[in-house]
Symmetry: C2
Subunit: 514 residues, 2 copies
Amino acid sequence: MRNAADREIPERIGDHAVRPFEGAFATSQTGAKARRPQKFAPRHEEKVLPTIEAAIEACGLSDGMTISFHHSFRDGDRLINQVVDACARMGIKGLTVFPTALFPVHEPLIEHIRSGVVTRIEGSMNGPIGAFVSEGGRLTEPAVLRSHGGRWRAIEAGDIEIDVAFIAAPQADVYGNATGIHGKTPCGPISFSAVDAQYARYTVVVTNDLQPYPVYPMEIQQGWTDWVVEVDEIGDPEHIVSGTLQLTRSPTNLRIARLTAEAVVASGAFADGFSFQGGAGGISLAVTKYLGDEMERGGIVGSFGMGGGTKLLVDLLHRGLIRVILDGQAFDLDAIASLRDDAAHLIIDPGFYANYDSRGCATYRLDAAFLGATEVDLEFNVNVNTHSDGQLLHGIGGHQDVAAGAAMTLITVPALRGRLPMILDRVTTVTTPGEVIDVVVTERGIAINPRREDLKERFAAAGLPVRTLEEIQAEVKRLVRPAGRPVFGDEIIAAIEWRDGTVIDVVRKVEGWE
Amino acid sequence: MRNAADREIPERIGDHAVRPFEGAFATSQTGAKARRPQKFAPRHEEKVLPTIEAAIEACGLSDGMTISFHHSFRDGDRLINQVVDACARMGIKGLTVFPTALFPVHEPLIEHIRSGVVTRIEGSMNGPIGAFVSEGGRLTEPAVLRSHGGRWRAIEAGDIEIDVAFIAAPQADVYGNATGIHGKTPCGPISFSAVDAQYARYTVVVTNDLQPYPVYPMEIQQGWTDWVVEVDEIGDPEHIVSGTLQLTRSPTNLRIARLTAEAVVASGAFADGFSFQGGAGGISLAVTKYLGDEMERGGIVGSFGMGGGTKLLVDLLHRGLIRVILDGQAFDLDAIASLRDDAAHLIIDPGFYANYDSRGCATYRLDAAFLGATEVDLEFNVNVNTHSDGQLLHGIGGHQDVAAGAAMTLITVPALRGRLPMILDRVTTVTTPGEVIDVVVTERGIAINPRREDLKERFAAAGLPVRTLEEIQAEVKRLVRPAGRPVFGDEIIAAIEWRDGTVIDVVRKVEGWE
């Protein structure tokens, strides 16, 4: 069938019927959330177990079950491999791994997929595992990719059931309260796991810094935690840095950043109480910096900036340019220090941040957001999941949630990357539909979604180079030879869920190149 | 039938079967919690409504529904009367009022009970409403009284369903985030309402200090809040002070406090990492003060003190004698200021504090607790609900939760109040069973529960006046004439739930006095 993003999707994927994407805010759930398990604790029970293996046994983890993890250590994570290795040693097979995201550090999982220890993945696969899965035939069911808010929603809706949640905790107490902002190796908030901890049949907190009761803030609460394990290593905070942490130095990217900041200033939303979110990429960081300087110059005090927390966002808070930072994950160590020290730098969880099935989330309060893309197309659709070679190499992150929520969403993307044009007739994969994208900013001009005619005059008045996507695309086409395109097979290797649980696109096996 | 507290209870109360009390930790729920409603928010929706009446309409509140409230303003609350008055004006009848507690300020509800606007109460009724209900024939079903943890559990278990939660919020933002520790009239934590807000079909935040987005800490979250109403007055913080705020000056009570502190010190638990909870009554405050001085003298640093937060507890934190305060409600304005200023003074909710159906709660980590009583009996059962005249005048509060959780629970009670002996053969009402009471401290000696033989030698070695309850009772009997006793009718006016949802006792209509 064809969905509202004009994509061909199957009626069923694996064992469940596909709900097709109908539009960014077309569905509304009015039923009830899934039940959470009722738990019991004998009085004065001790919860500390000596090893991960002991926890696996205590939880009765066995063939075919689902285990979940957070990604706050990103490429520095040391827990997922430890747990799956332990499962493999204990002879457990057929696991579904349900992480918030996988990174290159998790490449050893490929062997566990080959050997049948892991047969299914529901979660983002950044890098080698995505490439491996893109070859087809690797998993018994297609992977499911969800946004941060979408994953929270899916658990609360009962779309996926977790048998055991393993939570890497930089600090935990003996009774199972845990946080990511203290300890020997803080990684920033671990609140992504709060919903796992509440819904999983068993919750295991794994820490390298076990402390007496009580550890706080209680991102993970004692009432949810069944067992606590102390290990030598859960992750390396030096690797939490996601992608580029430095401001871009590329003249192309600096021009995009400058144009983006100017577009925000010209949009009419740039006034006291202004709120925004940028990502951690080099362009986003540069936009944040430019906007901060504009706020200072204009005497504007913003209401909140949203993270991934970065040194740059913290700097705006310290300069009094924003009142609050709402932060679901830390992208550098300065952000973690600020989470400890600044009362107005708040840990939020993905439910608060972005849950579609709620009476409102933080992204809906954003005046502006600037987000990256691997590709955009003439319908303003955005792809952040697959590369132009068709390989599934990135997760959704908060892209859908922020784009859908913000009053103005600007996509920052170079019109050319190397010899490849990034404005296509049709994106390889639709991650985020054009209906929630307001502006595309390239080094060759700014394109405004026809839905936002109101911005056209404002941008023109500010002397910004407003052009159509078609014009930019045509200009770029004259500079490069036509690029090849991947050839896809029939096998669906992943479904891309929209944040309401409908399927907006699927990713198929890559068979070649033409 | 007779339950494990040796009380006669009916098989059914109103429309549900009674589960009889089986013992303090005898039941274990291993099923699932009740479903929470799935909600939806259109993008960029405004939630602010002009009046309480408008919110009542928006929620479709009508005959026979259940409305809930918190008690953080205690006798200064101005919301419950406003809401029920509005319902009465709008012609709504047959409401169940489900507060965490009612106070003398809510006496106007009596007229609404007489007129049929309110036909049922599930919650504590301190003072005149309790006396009114004690007369019998006032409510269509018996009231149900629950502990703080028990109320949280009951909502999560689906024992009671809330149609509309009205939440008095000293500060709220336009999107429904709310807190009790900021604003024009802060009342301390409003986290008692967090479970109401998550389970109610509709949640209405009512504030006298509406602010731009975002207000924090988000004790109540935007994702749970349907509507926000701004009114002139929600409560008077001068009246949050519960009972005696001052240290007792009565020589009898001071002697009890001194003996209690000495018993704690002699118990063996008084060492680094010590944790405790006292209440806000004059005796408890004096014990807290004595213990603080003992800690300072002994160079002991406690792990946590639990509140109701008070100036005295804050003082221990500031002197470095405890590391953390866990606080579910503030008993004075100094505690509220400290919640704002001290990072180690944490807001907790009643689920974290005391939920039986969880993998453990904060009261289970208490080394010692000292709690009051209106009566105790020779089986160490404690009554805090009814007076010796049989009238239902007090709620349970956290009494059951703390007594059950603490490794050592001491009941502080004068052997005589005026001319009435407080050690009875049988308490008028069993609130908390003797099996979780370790020690009873009176001005005439300290009685140790036979289950705690281990304490006997320690107390004797410390020169404490250890006696049996029978000895103390006999001594007091010689001083006063036998007191009269209330005569009860058949009608059950209230059920006292144990914290696991079983019924530990019932309160019957008072018919006279003999």
